[in-house]
Amino acid sequence: MPRRQNSYFSYLDQDALSQISGDYLLSPFPMEGNVSGYHRSPHKGSSVEFAEYREYTPGEDPKRMDWRVFARSDRYYLKEFEAETNLRCHLAIDCSASMSFGTPLNKLEYAKKLGATLAYLYLCQGDAVGLHTLKKKKPVTLPPKRNPAQVQEILEVLGPLQAKGETTLSQSLHEIAESSRMRGLVVIISDFFEDVPLINDAITHLRDRKHDVILFHLLDQQELEFSFDRPTRFIDLEGQGSIITEPTLIREEYLSSLEEHIKSIQEHCLGCEASYFQVQTSQSIRETLDGLKKSRRGGGI
C-alpha cells in the first residue's frame, strides 16, 4: 500500500539541500555505528586509514599480520586500521509554547525545516536519524533508523507538531542521554529559554555519554533587538503571567540579561566541546547549514 501523499515535504529546504548535498557532515568525535559509514569509529577496522601496530597475540587472525615488520624484526606485529562507521543522529526539537514566537517563520516552523533538512542530509550519507519532540504532553520519539523512508516518518511527526505548554528541555535531554546507549549525535533545536544551569547540566550529561552535541539556538530578531517604543503588555507564551512596561526604560537591562544568557550557554558549549550555533528565524536554512557544514567538513567543532 503506497504511503499517504502529504505536503510536509515542503519542510525540506530545497535551496539548502541543493547546496549542501554531496558534502559530508562529519562528526569530530568517534561514533559507534552498526554499519560502515563516513564517521570515525572508536574500533579498529578495515579502512585505508592506518591506526597503529600491535603485538600479535596467538589466536588472532593472521591475515592482519604485517609480514614486512616480521621480516625486519623477526617479531609478529599486527597492522591496525581505523574503522569508519555510521552515526546515530538524535534530532531533539523543543516544542514548548515559546517556540511559537517569531517572524517570518515562528521558531517551531523554523526548527521543523531545519530538523527535516538535517534528517534528510544525514540519511543521505547513510546515518541513522531519530527524532525527539521535547514537550510535556505526549512527546514523540522516533528511534534512529538509516532507512530512507525514515524521512517520511520524521516529516509525518514534525508536520502536525504545535508549540504548546511549558518547556521540558533539560529534562528531555537528560532522558535522551540516558536512553541512548551508543554514542551518537544529538542535535538540539530550541530557544533555550530555561535556566542556564539546567541547560548546561543537560549538555554536560550528553557529553558525558560521549555524544556529539550540536545546539541550534533559535532567536527572533525582535527578541534580539527589543525595539519597542510604546508601553506594552508582554504576555508570556508559556503562561507565566504578563508584564506592562515602558520598553525603552528596560531595554538595556533586557538586552543585557539576554546577552548574558546566550554567553553562558556558549561558554559552556565551548568548555564541553559541544557545537553552538545562534540562529535567527529570519536566516535561511541554507545559511544556517552552511555554518554547520563549515565546522563539520574537517571534523572540527
Binding site: A97, S98, M99, S100, F101, G102, K107, D191, F193, D220, E223, F228, R230, P231, T232, R233, F234, I235, D236, L237, E238, Q240, G241, S242, I243, I244, T245, E246, L249, I250, R251, E252, E253, Y254, S256, S257, L258, H261
Partner: protein, 650 residues
Amino acid sequence: MSFLQPLALAGLILALTPLIIHLLNLLRHRSQPWAATRFLFQARKSSSRMSKIKRWLTLLFRILALACLTLMIARPISGGDFFLSLSSRSPEVLVFILDRSASMESVVELTSKSKRQHAIEIFQRFIEPWPESKIVLVESVYEEPFFIHGSDSLKDKSYEHFICSTDTAASLPKTILKTLRWMKESQIGSAEILIASDMQKSNWVKKESADQFIKIDQILTEKNHLWTLKIVPFQSPPPYNLSVRIDNIQKNKENLKPSIILNRKNSKKPSSMVNIETQINGKSQSHSLKINSNLTRWNPELTFEQEIEQGWGSIQLGNDFCNSDNQCFFTYNTKSIATVGVRSSNPNIGIILRSAAQNKEGEQAGLISLQNLQESELRSKKILIQQGTLSLKENVMFEKFIKNGGTMIAFPSEEENSIEFSFLNWQKLESKIEEDSFSVRDWAKENSVLANFVDGSELPLEYLSIQKRRIPNQGEPLAYYQDGKAFLSKFTYGNGLIYAFSTLPLDSWSSLKDGFILVPIIQRIIQESSPISTESNDMICGSEESKQIFEYTSVDLPAQKSPSINAGVYQINGQLTSINRPILENEDETLSFPELNLMLPNSSPIQQLKTQDTFSLKRSEIWTTFLFLTLLFLLGETLLGLPTKLRRKN
C-alpha cells in the same frame, strides 16, 4: 513675586500634560505575546528602582520645564532682589509721594535726620536700579506731580521748595488719588510708586477720605501688576517731644495775656524745666517754666515796651526731637473789637443785655431800633443780641447778617405765640413754682464759652435758679438741665454763629439777671468774635486759604518764607496775619498697615518697606530666570533620556 500677564498663568494646567500623556500611554498599551519574558522580569527587577526614579524624574523635569515656560510667558516680577534675576526691565515711571506734613520733621531715632530727609534718601536709593526710568515727585502740599531729572536733582536748590520742611498738614488719600488720576491721564504703563509717610492718622483719615480710598482702590485694581504701591512708614513717635499752641489771648493796656498750652509726650521725668522764649513785636523775653504734667496751661503776662494797636507775637520752645511744633504765632489788634447791638422787646431785658455786653472801656452795647430796622444798622455790628418778636422782613435781615459771618445771641420771646426766627425757634413755655426751679447740671467745661476760668474754677452755672424756660429746638447743647434739655445751645448758620438761651434775664424767669453767668458768657462770645483772639485772624498753614496768598511779607523772620508752607507772621494786604501749623499735627495716633489695606480691599496689598532694607526696594522682571530654568529642565530631561552606555561614553 507678581506677574505682568497673570492670565497666562492659566497655562500652568498645561504643565500637567506630560503626566496626562504618560497615564494615557499606560492606558493605551498594546499587548504583545512574548517568549523571552523571563528576561523582562529580570530586567525590570534589576532596574525597577532606578528606572522608576528615572521615569519620575523625567516626568518631573518635563512638568517643571512647562511650568517655567508658562511662568516666563506670564512675565514675573520679583518683589525684591531676586538672586537669579538676570535682567531688570525698568518701570516706565518711578513716583515718589512725599508726606511733607509738620510731623515728618521729627527726628528718626538714633539719627540726626528728620523723617522727611530720611525718606528722600530712601527714595534716592530706591531709584538707583532703574536709571532709565522717569522720576516723578509729588509732595503733600501742592499735590502737583512733576518730573525731575535723576536722584541728584533732588539736591538742586530749584527743587528745595518742594522737598523742604513745612508746617502743613497733609491729606495723603487725596494726594495719592490725584497722582493716580494724573498717571492714568498720562497713560503711564508700568510704575513704581513709593510713599513716604509717618502714617499720622489725621493725615490719612479724614471725612472725605473714605470716598477717596474707594477711588484709589478702583484705579489700583484696574492697573493691577502694572502699578505697584509701596510705603516706607515712619511710624515710630519721637522719643521725647514738647509742643506748644496758643488757646486764646487777652489784652490789657499794659500787657498781653496769652493762654498757652504745652503738651509733653514720652517724657520719663515727672517734672522738668522748660525754657520758653516769647516775642512781642520782635522784642524777646525769656522764661523758665516747671512742667509737672503732660498737659500744661501757661498764662504769662507779656508786657509791651511800647503799646502798638496792631502787633504780633510768638512763643518758642527749646529744641527737642521734633522742632516743627516748638513754635506758635499770634497777632492782636485792639482797634477792631467786635461791636455789639442789642434788640429786645422788653426794655428791662434790653438794659440788662446792653450792660452785660459793655466793652472794656465801660461803654454799653448799642441799641438797635425795634421799629423800621434798617440793614445799615446791622452792617456795623459784629454781634447781635436779640430777644422778642420780629417781623418777616426783620427775620430775612437777621438771616443775612448771620450768613455773612455775624454772631447772634438769641433769647426766647416771653409769649409763646409770637413770631420768631425762621431758622431758630423755642419749645413751649415750661414753668415751676417759686420753691422749685430748674437747675443746670452739666455743661462744656473746656473749649467753649462756658469753659472754666484760667485758674481752673468753674462758671457757677449750678447756682442759677430758673423758674421759666423755653428750650431751643436747634443747635448743639453747651449746657444741660437736670432733665437733659438744653440750657444754652450753639450752632453755625452760613458763615455765622448762633447762641440760643432757654431763659430770660428777668426775675420772673431766672436769676440770669444777676449777671454772674450772663456777663461772662456774653463777654466771652464778644472776645471770641473779636480779632484780638488768635483764631479770628489766624490761618492754618497749608490750608487752601493760605495757598491763595501770593503777596505777603514775612514779619517774624526776614528769611524767605511762604504762608503756604511755613508758619509765621505775615503782612498780608496790610493786615498782620499769624499762620500756625495745624493742631492735629501734634497727635501721635497712626494708621496701621492692616487698617490701610482694609481700606483698599480689592487691590493687591500695599507692600511695606523697612526703612533700613535697601535691597528689597529693587523690583525687576525675572522672565530670564524662568527661561534659564526651562532650558535647565529640558537639558536634564534629555540627559535622562540618553541610553546609559552613551552617557557612560560621554
